[in-house]
Structure formats: structure tokens, C-alpha cells
Symmetry: C2
Amino acid sequence: MKLYDGGRAPNPRRVRIFLAEKGVTVPLLPVDLNRMEHREPEYRAINPVGQVPALVLDDGTVLTETVAICRYMEELHPEPPLFGTDPLSRAIVEMWQRRIEFGLLATVAAVFRHGHPAMARMEVPQVPAWGEANRGRVADFLAILDRQLADRPFVCGDAFTIADISGLIGIDFMKPAKLSVPEDMANIRRWHAQVSARPSASA
Amino acid sequence: MKLYDGGRAPNPRRVRIFLAEKGVTVPLLPVDLNRMEHREPEYRAINPVGQVPALVLDDGTVLTETVAICRYMEELHPEPPLFGTDPLSRAIVEMWQRRIEFGLLATVAAVFRHGHPAMARMEVPQVPAWGEANRGRVADFLAILDRQLADRPFVCGDAFTIADISGLIGIDFMKPAKLSVPEDMANIRRWHAQVSARPSASA
């Protein structure tokens, strides 16, 4: 098994943190996003949609999409469970995972990709007005996330899950997008400090 | 159990088709999207992100996000399996499900929501340039989907899965977005006719 990795980009880091939480090591093959290696024919032969990460199994089967890779690793290494432990908790993890993906990761990505000059080669065409339109969406979702974190340690309750990993990645991705968590969102700030202090966060 | 439903909108229909494939009936509570009922405080008390569908369990627990609802119903009603049957097939279903969501559903939605005058009240602000930018992404993904369907009856192989439901919804959503599948994409056309002919498609 080997993992095509993309360094500082959010989705490769999501998978690396997930693996670190599982205590699993997979050999990494770096893909240089700055050199646009992920859009080259060599890499598209591995993943036709031209994105990292991609997990290559020993029989050559390629799994792409961050959450598909994580879900596969969850099945191979069930402990600690990061997708919930029964039908309802698994559904709630899926719900928050998706809320965070659509409400935070996608919106912050839009601000970054459509607003940052360094992304002009990768995001074609950049649509600055679309980046701007997403600022308010980020703020709206942060308010929902802050309320959710008011009376539980982690996004889905007492257990750390993949929704916390996605949330951590989303908040950290705000920095290159030049966004910040409002001072008065004490619940997000407390939770972010806590999940950032886990050893996995440096993966 | 009851399901807040949104009529012709893509995500409510995804859940209805999923339930029909399972042979499960859940009482529907209509939410009038044209009257913007999903953005009213009454509905936001059910789903703070203001989207349909939402499943309310008998104890009052609310599950939102289409795929979270489907995954919960899969656990309660495992047959026929629509998320795969073993670790690898489940990962492959997740992979294609997400490729279709990002490559087709989200891109077609962007063309529709940012380009159609009727959506001006719901998509604030509309960014026509962002709608236009997504036309090429739809075309790029259709080429990938057509290749995938060249040598298998369904998106993930021999079995109909939730990835086929999402794909059907995505292709059907192209019509109001005034997009169409190119004539030469015979694999998509064959598959679309086949999945559209299933009784569940009219759910």
C-alpha cells in the first residue's frame, strides 16, 4: 500500500491525521502541487480527476477521495473508531462531516482559490466575486459550529471523530485564506486549541 | 419517523429514490422551497443550515444531509445493499459517490443556481461568471463518467448503488440548468436510460 500525498494541501493532511490517529503508517509518495504534477498525464493515469490524495493498494487498485480512503482504513483498522460506533452515531458523524465539508472546507477553499494570486494557475478561471460571496458563508457556518461545540467536547459529542479532523483542517485553512475565527467564538477556540494539541495534528 | 421533503429539488429526490429502492415508506412533510420555507426560523429550528431533506426520528433526533440519512436507512434496512458489501466495495462506492457529488451535482448546481433568473432569491448573490466557469467542469466530468460506464452496467460495477442514484439525479438536474449530455457519450446515455426505467426513479 502507498499513498500519493500533497504536502500542505488540506485533503492530504486530512488523511495523514486520520492515519496518525489510527497509529497506522503508509509509505508516502510526494506529488508536487506547486509544479502542478497532479494535473500531468502521469498522475491522471492514477487519478483521472487530478487530485491528491490517492491510495494505491498492493494489487494496484487505486482509491481516491479523502473520505473514501479514510473509510477504507477505518474498516482495516477499526480502533479507535473515527466514524461512530452504532447506526445513529455513524449517521451523526456523517451529518457533521458533510456540514463541515460544505459549510467550512468548501467555502474557505472558495475564498482562497478565487482570491489568492498564487492560485491563478490552479483555479482557472478565478472568479473573485465567487470568493467574496463565500466570506459570509464561512461566517454563517462558524456560528453554527460554535453553538454545536458549546456543550460537547468534540463536534459529535464525547468522542473525537473524522468530523473533528475535517473541522481542524477547515479552521487551519482559514489562515492562508486570510480569514479568522471571531474573538467571541469561545467554543470553537477552545475546541481548536484542544484538537491542535493532539500529536496527530502535526502529521 | 418522518421526512421533511422538498419536492422536485435534487437532494430530497435522492433520498426518496433511495427509500424506494429499499422498499421503505416514510411519511413525508412537504417544505415549500418556492415560498422559501426552508429558510424560515421554524424550519431552521429543525435544520440550522436551512436545507432539505431532514429526517426526524421518533425520539425527536434530527438527521440532516442526504447521505447521512441514506446511510442510516442502510443500517436499518440492509437489503438490498446500496453502499457496497465489503471494505473495498464500500470504499469504491464512497469514491464514486463523492466524485459524482463534486464533479457533477455541485457543478451542475452552480450552473443552475448562478445562471437561472428564478434562483436569484435563493442564491444570494448570484455570480454568473461562477455559473459559466462550471460548464467546462460538467463536460470534463461527463467524459470521466462515460469512460467508467464503458465496461460496467452501473457506476461501481455489477450492482446498482447510491452512486447510481446520485448520478441519475445529476444528469436529470442538467435539464433545468439547460445542459445536455453530448450525443457521443453512448455509455452515459445507455446507463441513464436504464436507471431511469427503474420504478424508484419516479419516487
